[in-house]
């Protein structure tokens, strides 16, 4: 039976605090703390980090990749293929971008599961990521959550949580929606969409699964349902009627906010990392109908605990210093215009070096060179290279804080890092605390949006403190 073999999650470290919002708008819960994608983060970069947390970097045999989001950076052009390159997945790969509904995460999970069951895929990765759109001063700016989750699916001994059943149904229903190009989500009549949308539909989704499988409420250890806010989550839970212990004590919707299509998978990853063997778990996605998935944790479920999940990210949370930063992160304050040079043909030619960080090792003299030249810079041999992937971890050799380039933070920290296993990487730092940066600091390379040269996204690796 198909099941989940590995998990990963990533929640951006930045937090927009309720007190920060209150200082500007005079309202907003002072306890609120919204995870906020940095200016160099989007669903692709967050998805890459979650995927690497789940699958490792280039040592998986994933043959199909499903990328769910309602906020895919590209409306036209594959988003999943960027994830595949940055996570160094094999090139023989099926990719699919799933979107259109906050249900896309569970829908993608179903599609992947079906492919495993059908034998067309041996190892599938499902990634769901969101950078949730919200306008300044709107309640959404504190209630939404950016982030990403990833699960790997397969069959056999590696399975940590078997997928026993999936129930799907469809009903056209307008609760929340967004038209192309709009910067915020619209919502219908609050009372109507809560009672007839979230509560009624979620109950129908979960009860449909129970009916399909013959499971009873007492069989289920954990129930994870989607809701746009904590109040609605509580209403759904009451109506569903599972024992109180089946619901997370402090659900992610209350802890972090509404992460859209990523929410069910984030909840699932978090639940699986706390699950005991034998537990049954239901995770449900919502949107014009819904999906409910029944899983059973196997003896291997504890193996998921060591992977970077929600807890790992949350431990690193840090409030942004002021409201202006949030405006800048979202391009809502005027910035000096820069037009970084880029070129699709360069990006394509050098894809293995820039996305997969492939260096060259000279067959004649053993020199490791990155970026690699055709002619070895040590011995002069021409085209005598073996590819070797750089390590993504190293220590700062030297660094600076540069105030010249325009940047939402007012400066860019650049560092040269000596990588474990050889080679150096020179580039921008991210998520650094300026005064903490020092020679010898441990850093890891993380995939980030470098700039939007020529109107498309240019992604590359940045250095993040790893201490």
């Amino acid at each position: 039976m198909a099941g989940i073999t590995r998990v990963g999650a990533y929640i951006p470290f930045h937090r927009l605090g309720g007190d920060t919002v209150r200082a500007v708008w005079g309202s907003g819960s002072p306890r609120a703390s919204r995870p906020l994608a940095g200016f160099d983060e989007d669903p692709i970069t967050m998805g890459v980090e979650a995927l690497i947390n789940a699958a490792g970097w280039g040592d998986s045999e994933v043959d199909s990749l499903y990328f769910a989001s309602t906020s895919h950076p590209y409306a036209e052009k594959s988003n999943a293929s960027v994830l595949a390159a940055a996570a160094d997945l094999p090139e023989k790969l099926f990719t699919l971008d799933a979107g259109g509904s906050v249900r896309a995460g569970t829908s993608a999970l179903k599609a992947a599961c079906d492919a495993i069951e059908a034998g067309s895929s041996k190892s599938a990765a499902v990634v769901a990521a969101e950078k949730r759109p919200s306008l300044p001063g709107s309640p959404d700016e504190l209630s939404l959550c950016d982030g990403a989750a990833a699960v790997l699916l397969g069959k056999g001994e590696d399975v940590a949580a078997e997928i026993e059943a999936i129930y799907s149904w469809s009903e056209d229903f307008i609760d929340r929606w967004r038209l192309p190009g709009e910067g915020a989500v619209s919502a219908g009549d609050a009372k109507f969409i809560q009672d007839y949308g979230y509560v009624r539909q979620s109950v129908a989704t979960v009860e449909g699964l129970l009916e399909q499988t013959g499971a009873t409420r007492e069989d289920i250890a954990r129930v994870l349902v989607y809701a746009p806010d904590a109040r609605t989550h509580a209403a759904i839970a009451r109506k569903l009627g599972f024992p109180e212990s089946a619901y997370p004590e402090n659900p992610l919707i209350a802890r972090l906010g509404d992460s859209g299509a990523a929410a069910p998978l984030l909840s699932l990853v978090d639940a699986l990392q706390g699950a005991e063997p034998g537990e049954h778990i239901i995770v449900a996605g919502h949107g014009s109908g819904g999906e409910a998935i029944l899983l059973r944790a196997t003896d291997r479920v504890h193996s998921l605990r060591s992977q970077r999940g929600v807890g790992w990210s949350v431990e690193r949370a840090r409030p942004i210093p002021n409201y202006g930063q949030w405006l800048k992160f979202n391009g809502l304050s005027p910035e000096e215009e820069i037009k970084p040079f880029t070129s699709p043909s360069i990006l394509w030619k050098e894809n293995r070096a820039t996305m997969r960080l492939m260096a060259g090792v000279c067959r004649s003299c053993g020199e490791l060179q990155y970026p690699r030249q055709q002619v070895c810079n040590a011995c002069g041999a021409r085209d005598e290279w073996d590819e070797r992937k750089l390590s993504r971890r190293g220590k700062i050799f030297t660094f600076i804080h540069d105030y010249l380039p325009p940047s939402p933070e007012g400066f860019i920290t650049m560092a040269t890092v000596e990588l474990e296993g050889g080679g150096r990487f020179y580039g921008q730092m991210t998520n650094q605390v300026k005064d903490d940066v020092h020679i010898g600091m441990e850093c890891e390379l993380v995939f980030r949006l470098l700039h939007q040269g020529d109107g498309y996204y240019n992604y590359f690796w940045k250095l993040r403190p790893a201490e």
Binding site: L347, D402, Y403, T416, R424, G427, I439, L450
Partner: protein, 398 residues
């Protein structure tokens, strides 16, 4: 190296424009002013010039002109002579002189002109300095790198390894601004204090505003001829001879900071270019044998590294060298009596030619308040492409 330039080429004329933000002058105006000053100094006219080299680093980046030889031929009416443009990062102007000198040494030409020119302030400083790095270059590698950033990484590493600090760097700025105050062609002619340097806003930590050279317009030119002709044809009693010249490309432009062998405490390019020049000139103890030097102080840290890379002092001793006053006017080896890039200014393509022209004036005793008395032998140095390439000249009075 199988050949030797020593004694073969004479510098018989030098011209330098005022350096600064020259909004009233065009690129061609600068070229004409520098070249005609050099003609007048040499006692030649355009008709005597057999061939010419133009050094301009980035023609279409901030100005319009200087893309090729015709830019110079047009400005000076050198039609239809062989004129070429060279570019080699911040050694560009020196490279124009080197090409011109080799053409004379080869016997191909008797009298030639080398001009370095850069018109940087047709756009705001950010348009030139920041845009070039942040906007251009490879789409991925080094994005975010700036000129001060490329040298500040060395400052940080140098501090780490030798315990130097920002106060040491400030000594260079104070000295060069003092020298610049004595140079009527310098961009900045005001002395500054160490406190001002240390309190200046950060540009690229650990470098502050006064650790950085300005964005400057300017041009310089020299007339070279076969050494025998200096007196025989042009009646020169006093002139300057090229004793040695070296050029080294020791690392890549973008890849320097990725290179595990790059020390970040000095420049192999400078060391190698100096080795070549010293070998030709027969210099074995530069600190003793050089009387005056112009070195590439694009940033204060660079001057300290240069002292060491050029062999004036051992690695790690640069800060003490400047603190002791050795490199100040009146010291044992005055460095950057023009004010250097720091205070005289750094129009990229002009700088190398300006260094040669300025040292020519020093060796011929024309520098007034900033004259190094009795200077017989001079060293000029430029460094470009964050340390990828360096050029060194050794000059002497005939």
């Amino acid at each position: 190296m199988s050949g030797n330039i020593a004694g073969k080429v004479a510098i018989i004329g030098a011209g330098i424009t005022k350096f600064g933000e020259l909004f009233e002058q065009s690129y061609n105006d600068l070229v004409v002013e520098a070249a005609f000053e050099a003609y007048a100094d040499a006692g030649v006219s355009g008709e005597d010039i057999e061939a010419a080299w133009l050094g301009t680093y980035l023609p279409l980046g901030w100005g319009f002109d200087g893309t090729g030889g015709p830019s110079l031929a047009e400005a000076l009416n050198l039609y239809p002579k062989p004129v070429s443009r060279v570019a080699n990062y911040c050694t560009t102007g020196m490279e124009a002189v080197r090409m011109a000198a080799m053409a004379v040494a080869s016997g191909m030409h008797d009298v030639v002109l080398a001009v370095g020119a850069e018109k940087m302030r047709e756009v705001p400083p950010r348009g030139s300095l920041v845009a070039q790095h942040v906007e251009k270059l490879h789409p991925m590698y080094s994005k975010g790198r700036t000129a001060p950033g490329s040298f500040a990484v060395l400052a940080r590493r140098y501090f780490e390894e030798f315990g130097a600090d920002k106060e040491d760097l400030a000594e260079v700025a104070v000295k060069n601004h003092y020298h610049g105050s004595l140079n009527k062609r310098a961009h900045f002619r005001k002395e500054i204090t160490k406190e001002q340097v240390l309190k200046a806003p950060p540009v690229t930590e650990p470098l502050g505003l006064y650790d950085c050279c300005p964005t400057t317009d300017g041009a310089a030119a020299v007339v070279l001829c076969r050494a025998e002709l200096a007196e025989a044809r042009f009646d020169k009693k006093d002139y300057v001879l090229i004793d040695g010249m070296g050029l080294s490309c020791a690392t890549g432009y973008i890849t320097t900071a990725f290179n595990p062998k790059f020390s970040f405490i000095g420049f192999e390019a400078t060391q190698e270019a100096a080795r070549q020049a010293y070998e030709q000139a027969g210099v074995t103890n530069p600190r003793e044998e050089i009387d005056v030097a112009e070195v590439h102080d694009c940033f204060t840290i660079t001057e300290i590294l240069n002292y060491e890379d050029l062999g004036f002092v051992e690695k790690g001793e640069g800060p003490d060298f400047v603190k002791s006053g050795a490199s100040r006017l009146g010291g044992e080896l005055p460095v950057n009596t023009s004010g250097g890039l720091k205070s005289c200014g750094h129009p990229i393509g002009a700088t190398g030619a300006r260094v040669v022209a300025d040292l020519t004036h020093q060796l011929l005793g024309r520098c007034g308040d900033r004259q190094v008395k009795g200077a017989k032998r001079a060293l000029g140095h430029t460094l470009g492409g964050p340390g990828a390439v360096s050029s060194v000249f050794v000059l002497s009075k005939n």
